[in-house]
Amino acid sequence: MNRIPRTLLVGGVIVGVICILAALGPWIAPFEPDAFNMRARLQPPSTTYWFGTDEFGRDVFSRVLAGAHHSLLMGFGATIISLVIGVPLGLIAAFRRGWTEEAIMRGVDLMISIPPVLLGLLILAVTEPGLLKTMLAVGLVYVPIMTRVARAVGLDLLAEDFVEAARARGEGGFHILAREILPNAWPPLIVETSLRVTFAILLGSALSFLGLGPQPPDSEWGLMIAESRPFISEAPWIGLAPGLCLCLLLIAVNVVGEGLRDLLDPRLRGRGH
């Protein structure tokens, strides 16, 4: 067994703490995230308002907590969507060669030749924006990449002896895919997933920043940063607080992804370092 690297541990702890804070947000937030307080507008950070207050006197710390919830949901939700759609498609493409594979992989090629942001914008441009829709759009953007990875993994595994043995036993296609291939495909898929989460959070918060995600008065980190722009000179903390949290989260998720890659998939180790 490999020893768990220290960076992976540190990254994991930071991601874990942010997740717990986001989950406990409603109970530990000192103020209602949406409650206006016109007497306490644009207060700098203090012992009462840890991250200061915004133009409506709302507590920035409470809003950052509530926003963490949305940002995490969007990043992880989108990744799960791409996993749930992409992995079966990829495994089926690997298993049913010929016409089915051709159709799936041409579709994947096509989607990959559209710049990711554009694909997201295209989906969001014509519908009312909202948390779930942004999540779906970001998830769909990363489906083709997941499909490619799953297909490559599937092709590798199909050549293994235990698949041959299952075929010799006369097992059906679904059994082989679900029982023989899928359980063995997890390590590389987990690696790809954890690296994808960073991009999903980035793209999701960028789309929210552009106004195509959760809508005010909801708080989401990208949206909060966008809303802070008019007050950038008098109250920079409104944008800095969610921004720094977002950076911390992204760095930690990235560290975890790369740590997992080094741990689970030593063949790829050379690439990022």
Binding site: V117, L121, F209, L210, I225, S228, R229, I232, L240
Partner: protein, 319 residues
């Protein structure tokens, strides 16, 4: 080589055509009436009928698609709904300004990314290498839009050195004012990409330095500088070309965000404007143009890769 080129070119054409179908389908089929979307929910039936008449929306979908598609082939993107002028010239002007941002950025990313990567790889374990590695982690993770906010706070608000928003044309405002408006957008665009490229170059350069052909070259007594430049570097740069093509996609996303923040009147800002104002012809045209640029950038990268890497030229299997 010719058949490889022909196949890649055919696939670019196919992608563009498929994108016209996709854009058209998503805009026209999915969410109910386009006229409703433009006029809002309080529109009267008469107003909607009039607008549908004007835009040709009362015709069957395949006729509408054909009209739009043949228009595109002639370079006619239709009338902008909000600007009372053809969408084509609007897109072209915006494209020109974005091209300035993009080309400066790509050149900077290529030079600095590759340069820093080589420096790190040839100085492994030194302070400068460790510092660069740490900075790469940081810069890859910081989102462009937060970067924009940080540089605006620092350079435009606190120091007051550079304008926070806008654009000044070169021939009207002169070189200095033109450049002033570009410094902040370009630097926010390139930071993450430089980190990305330099990191990749570092790892592929390290791989090359440890290879047997470099060992053989050293054993022959060739000076280290020449070993690095002639033997290690060309092999290390091949993967960087592929990544530069991927980075064009990231750059396009960055341009959309950065132009919006800095109110820079380029293609990305125009696209967001078109979406916010439901200017459908402008939006569809902008998306097709951006896809075309992305496809051509990838084609260029593939050709460059094939030219530099003899293995692909022979087998011709890089479709």
């Amino acid at each position: 080589m010719t058949s490889f080129l022909a196949r890649r070119f055919a696939s670019v054409i196919f992608v563009l055509w498929a994108m016209t179908v996709l854009v058209f389908a998503i805009v026209h089929v999915l969410p109910g009436s386009v006229a409703h979307m433009i006029l809002g929910e309080f529109a009267t039936t008469d107003a909607i009928a009039a607008l549908e008449e004007r835009l040709g929306l009362n015709q069957p979908l395949y006729v509408q698609y054909w009209t739009w598609f043949t228009g595109l082939l002639r370079g006619d993107f239709g009338m902008s709904l909000t600007m009372e002028r053809p969408a084509g010239p609007v897109i072209l002007e915006a494209l020109g300004r974005s091209a300035i941002l993009a080309s400066i950025s790509i050149v900077l990313v290529a030079i600095l990314g590759i340069g820093l990567g080589i420096h790190s790889a040839t100085h492994v374990g030194t302070w400068s290498d460790r510092g660069l590695t740490l900075m790469q982690y940081f810069f890859i993770a910081v989102p462009e839009f937060f970067w924009c906010i940080l540089v605006i706070i620092f350079f435009a608000v606190w120091l007051g050195w550079l304008p926070a928003t806008g654009y000044a044309p070169l021939h009207e405002a002169g070189f200095w004012r033109w450049a002033q408006h570009l410094i902040l957008p370009v630097s926010t665009l390139v930071l993450g990409l430089i980190a990305h490229v330099s990191r990749l170059v570092r790892s592929s350069m390290l791989e090359a330095i440890e290879s047997r052909y470099v060992l053989a070259a050293r054993a022959k007594g060739i000076p280290e500088r020449i070993v690095l430049r002639r033997h290690a570097l060309p092999n290390a740069l091949l993967p960087a070309i592929t990544v530069l093509a991927v980075d064009v996609g990231i750059l396009i996303g960055g341009i959309v965000v950065v132009e919006s923040v800095f109110a820079f009147p380029g293609l990305g800002r125009m696209l967001i404007y078109a979406i916010d104002n439901q200017d459908i012809p402008l939006m569809m045209g902008g998306m097709i143009v951006i896809t075309a640029i992305y496809a051509l950038a990838n084609l260029a990268a593939d050709i460059l890769y094939a030219v530099l890497n003899p293995r692909i030229r022979v087998s011709g299997s890089a479709g």
